[in-house]
Amino acid sequence: MTADAAPARKEVVATAAEAAARISDGMTIIIGGFVTANHPMPVVRELIKRGVGDLTVIGSATAGLEIDLLIGAGCVRKLIAPYVGAELYAPIGNCFRAAAERKQIEVWECSEYILYAGLQARAMGQEFMAWRGGVGTSIPELNKDLVVFESPLGDGKEYLAVPAIGADWGFFHVGWADVYGNAQHVGARFGDRVLARAADRVAVCAERLVPNSYIRRNPVMTSIPYADLVVEAPFGSHPYAAHGFYAEDAEHIQAYVAASAAYRKGDQGAFRGYLDEWVTGPADHDAYLEQVGIRRLLQLEREYSAVSLGRHAPEGWPDGQL
């Protein structure tokens, strides 16, 4: 074997469209982030553009309107999440609520740690995890996959056996990643590390594509090693926040909530309008950002920086003396 025949490390950079193309009807996917932060929106939008359907979608422990959007666009058959909404922006996701009430989606009823227990079981190669939370509630009545059993230790306490929950792909939004798939969150990591462990394959959208040497400066920060795909996506969580980079776009989120509220009341027009304008309309993520506009994007960066004393929070968390 000669030196120039030595195999090179595999590079995994892809576009959002290429990442979404890995998903076909009927698959199970995980969408990371938390409520109004760090959702991989370029991939979410591409999935809708492709018209993929019958998905089982696993949201985060407090899933946001990125899941609501997938439901409203008709991509979802089954939902695994203990909450869908955006707190004060929308206490309940409108499309989620409408689809659940009309029985257009199946809801795998759970709570936060029931979700984590199932993901952990998969990540550890076990058939189930035991957890006491949810005992005595309606959750095991509504979700027949959860089995109530009595502790084998003989103390008479009841537990839930939470079966393993896996996924074909998990999609996440991080601060930066290198071409080999080493991804680092900047700021909070939410539940992303556990969610990623339960997925057979992982794709990350990253605010910045950075050299491997930059990752090596602090390998402890590598929260998702060896992602299968890395999508460079500046402002990739818009309209939601990305820790370390920018605030959520309150105005855009409110417009989405208004459109989805009309959808819930049976008026498809405004929601279709939102999809046309913001999801299927823009040719790609760059075109989407162009439509959002540079002034708005800079304003969201400033709003973040005003509190964090600059981008890239871990090096610049403030001392509180503002």
């Binding site: 938390f34 409520v35 932060a37 422990a61 407090t62 203990p82 909450y83 869908v84 909404g85 955006a86 707190e87 004060l88 922006y89 206490p91 309940i92 996701g93 659940a100 009430e101 809801v107 009823e109 759970c110 709570s111 936060e112 740690y113 029931i114 984590y116 952990q120 957890w131 006491r132 939370g133 949810g134 005595g136 509630t137 309606s138 959750i139 509504l142 103390d155 008479g156 306490k157 009841e158 700021g187 909070a188 990591r189 939410f190 992303d192 590390r193 556990v194 926040a241 605030a247 959520e248 309150a250 973040y304 005003a306 509190v307 964090s308 929070a313 968390w317 403030p318 509180g320 503002l322």
Partner: protein, 279 residues
């Protein structure tokens, strides 16, 4: 004609919560509401600088004592503003690794003072839960309205309120008080009332209070049922009886709750709720 009170119902609730928090307690604020966030921040800035506080859902451990609240109260449970007061952090799933009470048994819950010198974060002396419905037994419902697996109204989901099995005191807080919300029996149970916690032998105590814009219930009734503990200033017992779908009887511990005093209000308005979201 009577003057409108010099404080809002949200401010009254925040002040009530803050008064229940003792220095050295642990608190997880859970999902975002401006009321619970303000209450925790107010307590830490006034009388509880040693409050060990997980503010919001992402696992930032915060101490605000002597630190300014610039830009206002965080808008969401993942608002990056929370990090400006943080001195610790854990991934959200790791929050569940802070659940084992000191000693491992029930003693923490029956003799909290025996652990007064512990400085660890452990989940939690206080936790806030909201609900679509709450009932006479303190069961809380975030799943939806209807029954038998059907929904006339689908709720947001149970989040983690059924998971907090080691909590010492859960505040059930309702931001409106009427017979659709205060019911004899909830349609679905996201987390049980205190008698359910005892029956299922959970380590913690579960709900200890129901707090609404009108007043406060405890669970001193027979079989740990709800009893009227206090009426907030400006409201009446008759008003609460009219708005409640279960029998309203006074608690043996019924008390008068004073309105927010000048010191509480100025601290709340000038140093916590600087943008006036509670007004």
């Amino acid at each position: 004609m009577s003057q409108p009170p010099a404080w809002s119902w949200k401010e009254m609730m925040a002040v009530f919560f803050a008064r229940q928090i003792r220095d050295g307690d642990t608190l997880c604020s859970g999902a975002h509401t401006e009321i619970s966030f303000c209450a925790a921040m107010l307590a830490q800035k006034s009388h509880a600088p040693n409050l060990r506080l997980q503010l919001g859902g992402t696992g930032f451990l915060c101490n605000l004592a002597g630190r300014p609240v610039s830009g206002g109260v965080p808008k969401t449970s993942v608002d990056y503003r929370i990090a400006q007061w943080a001195e610790g952090y854990f991934d959200h799933p790791e929050t569940f690794l802070f659940y084992g009470p000191p000693g491992g048994g029930r003693r923490y819950y029956t003799d909290r003072d025996a652990y007064a010198d512990h400085n660890g974060y452990f989940f939690a002396d206080h936790f806030f839960v909201g609900g679509l419905q709450v009932d006479y037994h303190g069961n809380v419902n975030l799943i939806g309205l209807g029954g038998d697996g059907t929904f006339t109204m689908r709720g947001p989901g149970s989040v983690g309120i059924g998971d907090v099995i080691t909590v010492r005191n859960m505040f059930v807080f309702m931001t409106a008080h009427d017979r659709r919300r205060f019911v004899e029996r909830v349609d679905y149970i996201s987390t049980m009332g205190p008698s359910g916690w005892r029956e299922k032998q959970f380590p913690g105590n579960g709900p200890q209070w129901i707090v609404s814009p009108l007043g406060v219930f405890d669970f001193t009734g027979e079989g740990m049922t709800a009893r009227l503990r206090a009426v907030f200033p400006g409201h009446t017992e008759a008003e609460i009886t009219e708005a409640t779908g279960f029998p309203v009887h006074r608690s043996e511990l019924f008390e008068q709750i004073p309105p927010p005093d000048a010191g509480e209000l100025s601290l709340l308005r000038d140093e916590v709720d600087v943008t006036g979201v509670l007004r």
